[in-house]
């Protein structure tokens, strides 16, 4: 087989193609998991810990069991109780006195049990009839408190009670010597709080057993086969052998928080089994904030120094952050300082565990935090040196790696300096940086408003992965079916597959039928790390080419032609030998009752990894009220070969909007007296609305020669840092922590006076 490459001349790839499911989504025809209703379906809800830390002293289900409409109750202790396998019984056949009494709960929102009833209202009423006696235990919900006490109450099961874990450290070169030698040295503290994913479609699923051996779930997940597999494994752990099918046709966002069935998936599957009826279980908004994942906070005290001409020679950061009861750090010491090349480095981080919900991966895990910590410090350094921060950025970019340049010229190390330099130039032009940048605090004013502009850089991987099967089926009526078990989180993945196959077969993407989001189709990997398009697009190309070749092999003999003489062009197949042409339909018609099927998996050479990205924010700040108005954000982004320019631009705009919310509005606030989150809602957990959004200018820096690279995560990384720098440029003082609310802006202004 000839080596498969992306076509030299691309008719569709890189153009703007409206998403295939756009009309379905706009009209409401698209059915999300939450829209699924099954005959006889029950509604389930979860009872959660009201305390930040407690132990279940007693648990009485008798009243709840008798409540109207209640069909099944299953506890978390029971689904976790696998010791019963020895007796040949699943955990839920054991009494709660064995499985749950004595169980420790570690945060407000920690799951206790779930009840399935005929209506949601009945389920809610029944939850309130569960009688639990709690032993309240000490808790810590504030990082400062944990850092003072260090050895506080436990946040995880077991004996390890320490609240502060060493998250690692790294020293390179001679930071002390470099600090002494530095002509310019500045120190600052920068931080971002815990924020949550805020998926508009909350976590959950509908679970239905077709037979004791076969379970179907309609689950909102970013890992369709993975979720089915995890649930199957869970059931096997209780001695239940069955097949699990997962369906996710449309999805309202995951952002890293939806990689498995979670506890609600396990509870729903068991409730459906016990009640012998389909069960729907979706979280409410408050549960989403409390227990469905969050992005760890990060705070760092940074010392940055270098020469007066802007070369950074030393970067030190002592940092900490909290993943709640989780273990993942908010600061990734491996990628600090972020993006830039600095010779003398000292980094350390502490992981502060608190009694609130656990962190999960969230769109570019650790990157926005690391970017904020680094990029704010870089600007403060530039300001102290009296230099334009854009020039300082250009000066400290990592060089193109000479070894990579000769060995793998399309790799990121071979291109990083070129990519950033080009993107900074483009961003500078689009934002009129040269004209608009001014020394901090010295910009234009309008009444009490001051103007500011700021820049930040980011990077991400976005590699392709194997184990993504795509199937392309061509029928004699000329129709083409594209199948893959992968999921479309709202990213436009369905359309990516259509574009690639249509490009290869000379068709219009609209004419294809794309079926995705069904685990039984084949293998696919979870949508994490911006790997979906680079993992599936190559597979789609291979599948399409295999289908085409198979079509030629089958039809050519019937026409007395040789497969090798056939050339496929848009809507037309030509026989090189005779010059005869067929339309696509005419040609496919010769299949008769036959169909052809091409299969493809990811192969190397069509995708790549490693991207840059530059963002510039322009703001106005009301110096009397501390109110910040975002004027404009310019986002320049590469992702190798752009497949769908329209979807890419949307992804970047969406990433920017998410970054704006980190910068301006979001914060999980947990009360130290009660241990409860006080804003598990969208009222005081703030998200910007239309009126809060600036003009967003997106520029895709297309590099087709690099192959496909993921786009999902990078564009959200540097927005908050760029906004932070713009505010500093406006005011001449640093607002050290997000969200940049009026009180924080005023505090920074007043601290200067």
């Amino acid at each position: 087989m000839a080596e498969i490459k992306w076509p030299e001349k691309r008719r569709l790839i890189g153009t703007k193609v409206p998403r295939l499911d756009g009309p379905d989504k706009a009209t409401g025809r698209a059915r999300y998991s939450q829209d699924i209703n099954r005959p006889g379906m029950l509604h389930a809800l979860i009872l959660r810990s009201p305390y930040a830390h407690c132990r279940i002293k007693s648990l009485d289900l008798s009243q709840a069991q008798k409540a109207p409409g209640v069909r099944a109750i299953v506890t978390v202790g029971q689904v976790n109780y696998t010791a019963g396998r020895k007796e040949g019984k699943p955990g839920w056949e054991f009494p709660v006195s064995v499985t749950d009494v004595g169980r420790e709960l570690f945060y407000h929102g920690d799951e206790i049990l779930a009840i399935a009833a005929d209506t949601e209202e009945h389920a809610r009423d029944a939850l309130r009839l569960v009688k639990i006696e709690y032993e309240q235990l000490p808790f810590i919900v504030k990082e400062e408190t944990a850092l003072q006490k260090r050895l506080g109450p436990s946040t995880v099961p077991g004996k390890d009670a320490s609240n502060v874990l060493a998250g690692g450290s790294r020293t390179e070169g001679d930071p002390d010597g470099a600090k002494k030698a530095a002509e310019v040295l500045v120190k600052g503290t920068y931080g971002v709080p815990v924020i949550t994913h805020c998926c508009l479609e909350t976590h959950g699923l509908v679970a239905e057993w077709e037979s004791p051996k076969s379970l179907t779930i309609w689950c909102t997940t970013q890992a369709v086969p993975g979720t089915a597999g995890q649930l199957q494994g869970f059931l096997a752990g209780h001695g239940i052998t069955c097949s699990v099918r997962c369906i996710t046709h449309h999805m309202g966002g995951g952002y890293g928080s939806k990689f498995g069935p979670d506890i609600q998936g396990q509870l729903a599957a068991v409730l459906a089994l016990v009640a012998k009826a389909p069960v729907k279980l979706f979280l409410d908004r408050d549960e989403e904030h409390l227990a469905a994942g969050n992005r760890p906070s990060a705070t760092a005290t940074v010392t940055i120094g270098g020469s007066r001409n802007g070369t950074i020679s030393v970067f030190e950061a002592a940092s900490y952050g909290t993943p709640g009861v989780g273990r993942a750090a908010g600061v990734n010491i491996g990628i600090l300082p972020y993006v830039y090349e600095v010779r003398n480095v000292r980094i350390s981080t502490d992981i502060v565990r608190l009694n609130h919900g656990a962190a999960r991966a969230m769109r570019a895990p650790a990157h926005p935090q690391n970017c904020f910590i680094t990029e704010c410090a870089v600007d403060d350094f530039a300001n102290a040196a009296g230099l334009d921060p854009m020039e300082v950025r250009l000066k400290n970019l990592p060089q193109n790696d000479p070894a990579a340049v000769t060995k793998i010229p399309t790799s990121f190390p071979a291109l990083r300096n070129t990519i950033y330099t080009d993107e900074i130039r483009i961003a500078a032009e689009l934002s009129q940086w040269k004209k608009k940048w001014h020394p901090p605090g010295k910009g234009p004013t309008k009444g009490p408003w001051k103007h500011g502009i700021g820049m930040a850089l980011h990077t991400w991987g976005g590699a392709g992965r194997a184990d993504n099967d795509v199937f392309v089926t061509i029928s004699s009526d000329g129709s083409v079916l594209v199948q893959c078990s992968t999921q479309d989180l709202g990213t436009g993945e369905r359309t990516v597959l259509a574009i690639v196959v249509a490009e290869a077969l000379g068709l219009d993407p609209k004419d294809l039928t794309v079926v995705i989001g069904e685990s039984q189709i084949g293998r696919s990997t979870g949508s994490g790390g911006s790997t979906t398009a680079p993992g599936t697009a190559p597979a789609a190309l291979v599948a399409a080419i295999n289908a085409r070749d198979e079509l030629f092999r089958k039809v050519a003999p019937k026409l007395g032609l040789k497969p090798d003489d056939l050339v496929l062009e848009p809507n037309k197949i030509t026989d090189k030998a005779s010059g005869k042409t067929f339309t696509w339909r005419q040609f496919c018609a010769r299949l008769g009752v036959d169909t052809v099927r091409g299969q493809g998996n990811w192969i190397p050479g069509l995708s790549n990894l490693g991207v840059g990205g530059v963002q510039v924010a322009e703001v106005w700040v009301d110096t009397e009220t501390g109110v910040v108005r975002l004027d404009k954000i310019v986002a320049v982004q590469d992702c190798g070969m752009v497949i769908n320019k329209l979807a890419c631009e949307s992804q970047v705009a969406g990433g920017v909007i998410m970054g704006i919310n980190l910068a301006m509005f979001e914060e999980m606030i947990v009360d130290e007296q009660t241990g409860r989150m006080v804003n598990p809602d969208f009222e005081f957990y703030k998200l910007g609305g239309m009126l809060d959004m600036p003009e967003i200018i997106v520029h895709m820096h297309d590099m087709p020669e690099r192959g496909v690279i993921g786009i999902g995560e990078p564009p959200t990384i540097s927005t908050a840092a760029a906004i932070g720098n713009a505010i500093c440029n406006a005011l001449g003082v640093r607002v050290p922590r997000t969200p940049f609310s009026p009180d924080r802006v005023l505090a920074a202004l007043h601290a200067r006076k």
Binding site: P50, K446, G447, P448, W449, W620, D622, E624, T625, G626, V627, R629, F665, I669, D671, E672, Q673, T674, R676, V678, N679, E683, F684, K686, G688, G689, M690, L691, D692, S741, P742, D743, L746, A747, H750
Partner: protein, 339 residues
């Protein structure tokens, strides 16, 4: 939410008759933008919900602006069932009472303004996140302490002296209406009475008190605003530009004659358990020409008595700015803060 019996009376009298004379067991339902949330969160658990939406009485449902003739003392009447959106968009009201219509136009978002009513706005419950959390037994739910006093209080009151519960009153229409000298007409078992709006609100401290002085079986029928030719304006400082609450608000009204301001009223929102009349600021402005300097002095004076909590000292500063800007707006100065 807890099950309840739903009533749809066709007259105010019939509605009054359905109400209990103690708080908690019966609730009035207008637009439902507040009540339904309270019920879903189990903060309100009424046995009876009495809908007001089927009452057609024009006094209750309409805006009446009489002809304004020299020498008369006309009164504008706005029915309690009037939607906030209809107030915001009313041409004559915009002309007479920009303080009110500007405040109305900034309430929540379009959905809230299209459902929320004037009566509901004045009688809505406070937004304190401890009060709204069923699991926190605060003063207003029969507990022994106010959690906001020592807790998460960035959005709470700065005028806290004498207030064991440090909520802020949520209505942004109320400060404007008080500045305009409005009163409310209410109906109860023994007929109608009128209450000056600046006596309508109270700082609650226990479960059987609301944020206003109505009896549990009284209903707001309408709001009456005298047309006195006052210059008026409201200014709010907001973090988000939609679907959010202000951090601080100032509503002002005064008569401008011979370049001097008299009958000055300055009322602050979102800084105290009730709309806060800034008496000291009023004194600064009374009888004076409104200049930028005077407006600033008034802003300073408006903060007299402020005793901020651990996280909300910033509001003291916002009060100064809001008062200054509202005064300048009302005096007709070109706002230099508009961009």
């Amino acid at each position: 939410m807890k099950n309840f019996t739903y009533y749809r009376p066709l007259s105010l009298e019939a509605a009054v008759a359905l109400l209990d004379n103690r708080w908690g067991t019966t609730e009035l339902l207008a637009g439902g933008t507040d009540l339904l949330d309270l019920q879903k969160e189990y903060i309100a658990q009424p046995d009876k919900v009495v809908s007001l939406t089927f009452i057609q009485d024009p006094v209750f449902t309409r805006i009446e602006v009489p002809q304004i003739l020299p020498g008369t003392k006309p009164t504008v009447s706005i029915g309690a069932a009037v939607k906030i959106a209809d107030i915001a968009e009313h041409a004559e009201l915009k002309n007479l009472f920009p303080a009110l219509t500007d405040a109305a136009a900034q309430v929540g978002g379009p959905q809230i303004r299209n459902m929320g009513t004037l009566g509901g706005n004045l009688c809505q419950r406070n937004r304190c996140w401890y009060f709204r959390d069923e699991h926190v037994l605060c003063l207003l739910k029969g507990g022994r302490r106010c959690f906001a006093s020592d807790g998460e209080n960035r959005y709470h009151a700065i005028f806290t002296k004498g207030h064991p519960c440090v909520i802020v009153h949520p209505s942004t229409l109320a400060p404007a209406l008080i500045a305009l000298g409005a009163s409310v007409e209410v109906v109860g078992p023994s007929g109608k009475r009128t209450i000056e709006l600046n006596k309508f609100f109270q700082a609650p401290t226990k479960p059987d008190q609301r944020e206003h002085v109505l009896a549990p079986n009284e209903i707001v029928v309408r709001v009456l605003i005298p047309v006195e030719g006052l210059r008026n304006a409201s200014y709010e400082v907001r973090h988000k530009q939609s679907y959010d609450w202000p951090l601080a608000q100032a509503a002002v009204a005064f008569r401008l004659s011979g370049g001097k301001a008299t009958n000055v009223r300055i009322v602050l929102g979102h800084v105290a358990p009730i709309p806060h009349v800034a008496t000291e600021a009023q004194k600064v402005v009374e009888g004076q020409t409104i200049t930028r300097e005077l407006a600033e002095q008034a802003g300073e004076a408006a903060t007299v008595g402020a005793a901020p909590l651990s996280q909300n000292a910033y509001k003291v500063h916002l009060v100064k700015v809001a008062v200054k800007r509202a005064l300048l707006l009302a005096s007709g100065a070109q706002p230099d803060w508009a961009i």
